[in-house]
């Protein structure tokens, strides 16, 4: 909403209040000021001049030599190059000493041998916004079209000295979508009087009802409709003052009739519409919901198809306007219009919103209807419009408004006590101060003891409950004056849940392991939403959830895995020469088990690693990321949170390297996968060897043990032994390790692989695998025979069960 200071001053005395002051006060009182602009120019050396004489410059074809009367003893000789300058014009003259926008200083000068004592100005040179410059003055000087006085200051005439305050209104303050509404609030802020227009109109002997009747078909959509006939109008340009007002409000002047309706729109917040009566085609207005499929050509030239959700203004047969949204082309006011049908109505917010939404027509008018206008002021606004039309278009107003429906509104009363207000605000406002604030707001009220009953004015639809009055009183008392306190009461212990603490631990672990936390989008491409999905989800045969109206194909579906988006992040990095990248994300994937039900949100831990895991070239340390690097990260996690009871099993998954992929199982159930992505997929994402994992973190957290058990450090020696076997190459190391561990009980404390060899000196299809065994007993020193016995049992078992051959 653009608020002109000068326009506002019509209603509220702002002398001694600077615009900066006003802007700050407005912001602090709830009308947030976005920007203050202007004045464009306020220079007393810029005046009205009369061109007494205009001749061609003796030494220049394209220049004119003008003798201009600026109300001084002598005429000013001014050299002017504008093509439209002529004798007998009233023009804007910048006298020597004037400073035009952009710091352009006017001085006496000699142009081609002739003295020039100033400049005759174009609107652009005066700082006028280009988009408001009338067509005929676009390439030349401005010429006044009405009575002005020679020597008079020109800036106020063109409203160049005005300041415009742009306010960003919150949704509840539609009352301030009008200058009068803003005036009410500003008057309340400063405790000032308000001077409202008292519209009066000279009614001619004729009667509008001889020309028109009104019928409302749907009272809910259209509670009130008033029609007025104005005759013998002359359509022309509006007077300067009216144009100035509209421009200050950001509206381009069109012609006097349209300008008056727009003026009322901004002054009262009341949208009006003027139909060309002679083109309306009947003597009755019938407002009704449109028939399905009915069409209208709106005044933007578009043919529009209507439905029963739209309200139309008809002549009894044909629609002539979509109510509150846009008029029809057929009855548009044109240059030859002489009689108008002025519509002043209340259309319900819902029906206007539907119309403007369905037809993509958002206007200043529809916006006001959608938020709900002040129904009690419709007639006053109409009267004001009729008054102005008779003034600026020489119209004759025929009798009274022809009306249907009612402009009454049931009053809303809001009661509250002084204590209630103070208890909610946390302040100590006296009864007197509260009374003062309510008076400043111009709300009618009664006070009984300390109980106020306030009548919510029709213009303030936002005042309905007690809390609304808490805000009114608080904002005019001043949010600044509310003290700083903290809630009194029991200081309960807050804090994180066990699960939240665990997630933090997971994060800390991964970061200390060298991975960077990332955030990717939950909404992904349709194609990506089904890729890299972990088998335990894949097996459920779920469809990814799609948005009903995506903005872009890039983010149309909810992900079932974060891997594709993370790969895309790797690609982004590599494209920027960042080749060694390790990312992880903890976030939800969305599993829709039943259509139209809220999906399960499964929190997963996902990582993607490419390039070098460690890269310190001058020291010769270059460790490329590989399967075992990422597996190691996972093992560390599982050791910490699940006592390591997770099994890795070789698996073949789509988009993954068939030889370097494993699924993780906890108690036999899959909970994720890890591996290298398939070389073809690597190429798809412009990546070198890249490794990913995707783990059901919910499950990890659910199965995490409370606390950790302590086991005393043994004082008895441990005995280490190494065993190496030659076995089939396909035999998983984990299986052998498991067998050794079981056979080694009760003396074997741990077993670890320390070497794997499968190469030249090995028989085809075989590998050598070496284990380090630690024997230990917490209560005593183990005897050599016990260890030897155990060792033999292990070797025997492996020989028979796995055809393992013990190496030298």
């Amino acid at each position: 909403m653009l608020v002109s200071r000068k326009w506002l001053e019509q209603y509220v005395d702002l002398s001694n209040i600077s615009t900066d002051d006003l802007a700050e006060k407005m912001t602090k009182s709830g009308l947030e000021v976005e920007e203050v602009t202007g004045p464009a120019l306020d220079d007393e050396n810029v005046v009205v001049g009369y061109v007494e004489q205009c001749e061609q410059h003796p030494n220049a074809d394209k220049l004119n030599l003008c003798q201009v009367n600026v109300g001084e003893d002598e005429l000013l000789q001014i050299v002017c190059g504008a093509p439209n300058v002529a004798q007998g014009q009233y023009v804007v003259v910048a006298k020597p000493g004037a400073v035009l926008p952009g710091g352009f200083r006017i001085k006496k000068a000699k142009l081609r041998g002739e003295t020039s004592n100033g400049m005759i100005c174009s609107l652009q040179e005066l700082g006028y916004d280009e988009k408001y410059v009338p067509e005929q003055f676009k390439d030349g000087i401005y010429v006044f079209d009405e009575d002005v006085t020679v020597g008079e200051a020109a800036c106020p005439l063109l409203n160049l000295d005005d300041e415009v305050i742009e306010i960003e209104l919150t949704a509840n303050r539609s009352d301030c979508l009008s200058l009068i509404g803003v005036a009410y609030d500003v008057a309340a802020m400063y405790d000032k009087d308000i001077h409202l227009p008292q519209p009066e109109v000279d009614i001619s002997s004729g009667s509008s009802s001889d020309y028109i009747s009104v019928k409302i078909d749907d009272e809910e959509a259209n509670p009130y409709y008033g029609a007025w006939i104005l005759k013998d109008l002359t359509i022309r340009q509006s007077p300067l003052w009216l144009q100035n007002r509209l421009i200050s409000a950001g509206i381009r002047p069109i012609n006097n009739v349209v300008d008056v309706t727009n003026y009322i729109l901004m002054e009262y917040g009341q949208p009006l519409h003027a139909f060309d009566y002679d083109r309306f085609g009947s003597k009755e207005v019938v407002t009704r919901l449109a028939n399905e499929g009915e069409t209208i050509k709106t005044l933007d030239g578009e043919e529009r198809t209507l439905s029963s959700h739209h309200l139309v203004i008809t002549n009894g047969e044909e629609p002539h306007a979509i109510a509150g949204v846009m008029g029809g082309e057929e009855s548009e006011v044109q240059e030859d219009t002489t009689t108008i049908l002025l519509e002043a109505a209340y259309f319900s917010p819902g029906v206007v919103r539907q119309g403007s939404k369905d037809h993509g027509l958002r206007s200043e008018a529809s916006a006001r209807f959608e938020k709900g206008i002040d129904i009690t002021r419709v007639k006053e606004a109409a009267t004001r419009a009729a008054q102005l039309l008779s003034e600026v278009a020489d119209g004759e107003v025929l009798g009274n408004l022809v009306e249907e429906g009612s402009t009454e509104k049931d009053p809303i009363n809001v009661s509250f006590t002084q204590d209630e207000i103070n208890a909610r605000i946390g302040a100590d406002i006296s009864i007197d101060d509260m009374k003062q604030i309510i008076k400043r707001l111009r709300f009618n009220y009664e006070l009984d003891g300390q109980t106020f009953t306030v009548e919510s004015p029709a213009r303030r639809q936002d005042i309905v409950i007690k809390e609304d009055m808490v805000e009114e009183i608080a904002r005019l008392y001043g949010y600044d004056r509310i003290p700083y306190t903290l809630p009194v009461g029991v200081r309960d212990k807050g804090g994180l849940t066990k699960r939240q603490k665990l997630i933090r631990e997971v994060n800390d672990y991964l970061q200390s392991a060298g991975l960077n936390e990332s955030l990717t989008y939950s909404l992904t491409k349709a194609e990506w939403s089904t890729r890299f999905v972990s088998p335990e989800i894949q097996n459920q045969n779920l469809s990814p959830i799609g948005l009903s109206l995506p903005m872009t194909d890039l983010h149309s579906h909810l992900r079932l895995s974060a891997v594709p988006e993370l790969l895309s992040s790797l690609q982004y990095n590599v494209a920027r020469n960042q080749y060694d990248v390790a990312l992880y994300e903890i976030g939800s994937v969305f599993l829709q088990h039943e259509p139209r039900k809220q999906p399960e949100e499964n929190v997963r831990l996902t990582a993607a690693v490419t390039g070098h895991w460690e890269n310190h070239p001058w020291q010769g340390i270059k460790v490329p990321a590989d399967f075992f690097v990422v597996k190691g990260v996972l093992e560390g996690l599982f050791n910490h949170f699940l006592d390591g009871q997770v099994e890795f099993e070789k698996a073949e998954l789509e988009d993954m390297h068939p030889g370097q992929t494993a699924v993780m199982k906890l108690n036999g159930e899959t909970m994720g996968y890890v591996g290298q992505i398939h070389p073809i997929v690597q190429r798809e994402f412009d990546l070198q060897e890249t490794f990913v994992f995707d783990v059901d973190l919910d499950r990890v957290l659910d199965e995490t043990d409370d606390g950790e058990d302590y086991r005393a450090i043994t004082k008895y020696p441990t005995i280490a032994q190494d065993l190496a076997f030659v076995v089939d190459r396909e035999l998983p190391a984990k299986q052998l390790e498991q067998a050794i561990y079981e056979q080694g009980q009760p003396h074997l404390e741990s077993v670890k692989v320390f070497d794997v060899y499968q190469g030249e000196h090995m028989e085809e299809g075989k590998k050598s695998i070496a284990f380090n065994l630690i024997f230990q007993n917490d209560e005593r020193t183990l005897k050599d025979e016990e260890i030897e016995e155990t060792r033999q049992a292990i070797v025997q078992h492996l020989e028979t069960e796995y055809q393992a051959v013990l190496r030298g």
């Binding site: 605000i425 949010y479 509310i482 003290p483 970061q511 909404l523 949100e601």
Partner: protein
């Protein structure tokens, strides 16, 4: 024999002096003092000496042996010293070469901001509450005093999945859910962080996915001044002790009264500059007193209970705090961006 011993001593001392390493020195030792060494050879001839001469020569031999031994020891320690010096010199490094970096990742800046806020409020007695990102229309809108067809629904164009399901546009539904769980009994003190979604085209200042963190405090006799005090504590913690806050009236469907919180501009100290668009203040968050409809719908008696709520965007906070110019940086995961905030 005396002469011979003197000669041996002379020779030995010379050879010791000339020895260049421990190996040579050992050879010298064996040659003179060994079982078949020069001194032993001399002593073998002792039998030929007279009774009187024997102790004299014996003593002389011992003296020579001692002197050689001493010279050997001294030379040995010199050689050791030299060897050590040589080794140290060889082991010398260029201390200006870079050290081996500790392999280390770090948190995402947004998560860090959220964690910081969580930590502040949990010490003030709040709990952290979470909720679904795919929400029902009821929790995302209706329970927050935004009935169907409410004009304020336009304020947040949403991604709908079906008529009743949508990507949550705010974390406030978590407040509504948590309130319900409390079955009309206060206090409720929660902080709700999470991802939210709006129909925006991604550009430097918009992101269709972003994060939010909201706070809610419902109890008997909660006042607007409590909101002000709480926000002041937060602002000073987050932005520095010297910053001031300002509340100004605003509108949110789920609070009444509502307030926008600004902090004083750090760049210009409130004088007005380009960062704060000349106002001296920077908008940080929205807040207000919980609307009675929200309380009632969640089963709280709004005559007995009142509360405050506030909500903010970690992206905005991070952008302001570090001068980040483009919101998309938070979601492209450029490691050059991510790593800048691992230390702070």
């Amino acid at each position: 024999m005396k002469e011979r011993l003197k000669e041996i001593k002379q020779e030995a001392l010379e050879q010791i002096e000339a020895a260049v390493d421990e190996k040579k020195l050992q050879d010298v030792k064996v040659y003179f003092l060994g079982k078949k060494g020069q001194i032993t050879e001399v002593l073998k001839g002792m039998g030929k000496l007279s009774k009187e001469e024997r102790p004299v020569i014996g003593q002389l031999a011992n003296e020579v042996r001692d002197e050689i031994t001493e010279a050997l020891e001294s030379k040995k320690s010199k050689l050791e010293q030299a060897a050590l010096e040589k080794q140290l010199k060889a082991e010398s490094v260029d201390v200006t070469l870079p050290g081996r970096p500790v392999q280390k990742g770090g948190p995402h800046l947004l998560r860090k901001v959220i964690r910081d806020i969580e930590d502040l409020f949990t010490t003030m007695g709040y709990e952290v509450a979470e909720g679904p990102e795919v929400e029902t229309d009821f929790y995302n809108f209706e329970s927050l005093n935004l009935p169907k067809n409410h004009p304020a629904r336009d304020m947040q164009d949403s991604f709908f999945i079906s008529e009743d399901l949508l990507m949550r546009t705010q974390t406030s539904p978590v407040q509504a859910r948590t309130l319900r769980q409390h079955e009309g009994r206060g206090p409720v003190k929660i902080i709700c962080p999470g991802k939210v979604y709006r129909r925006d085209t991604d550009d430097a200042t918009h992101s269709h996915q972003f994060t939010q963190i909201e706070g809610l405090y419902v109890d008997e006799k909660i006042r607007m001044s409590d909101l002000k005090g709480t926000l002041n504590t937060f602002a000073k913690h987050m932005f520095g002790e010297e910053r001031n806050i300002r509340l100004r009236p605003s509108f949110f469907p789920f609070t009444e009264p509502s307030a926008e919180m600004d902090i004083s501009c750090k760049i210009c100290q409130g004088e007005g500059c380009s960062v704060c668009k000349g106002s001296g203040w920077i908008e940080i968050l929205g807040s207000g007193m919980v609307h009675p409809n929200v309380l009632e719908m969640a089963g709280f008696d709004s005559n007995k209970y009142s509360g405050f709520a506030f909500g903010m965007g970690p992206e905005r906070i991070a952008m302001l705090k570090y001068g980040i110019e483009d919101i998309r940086h938070f979601y492209t995961n450029d490691v050059r961006f991510l790593k800048q905030f691992h230390g702070v």
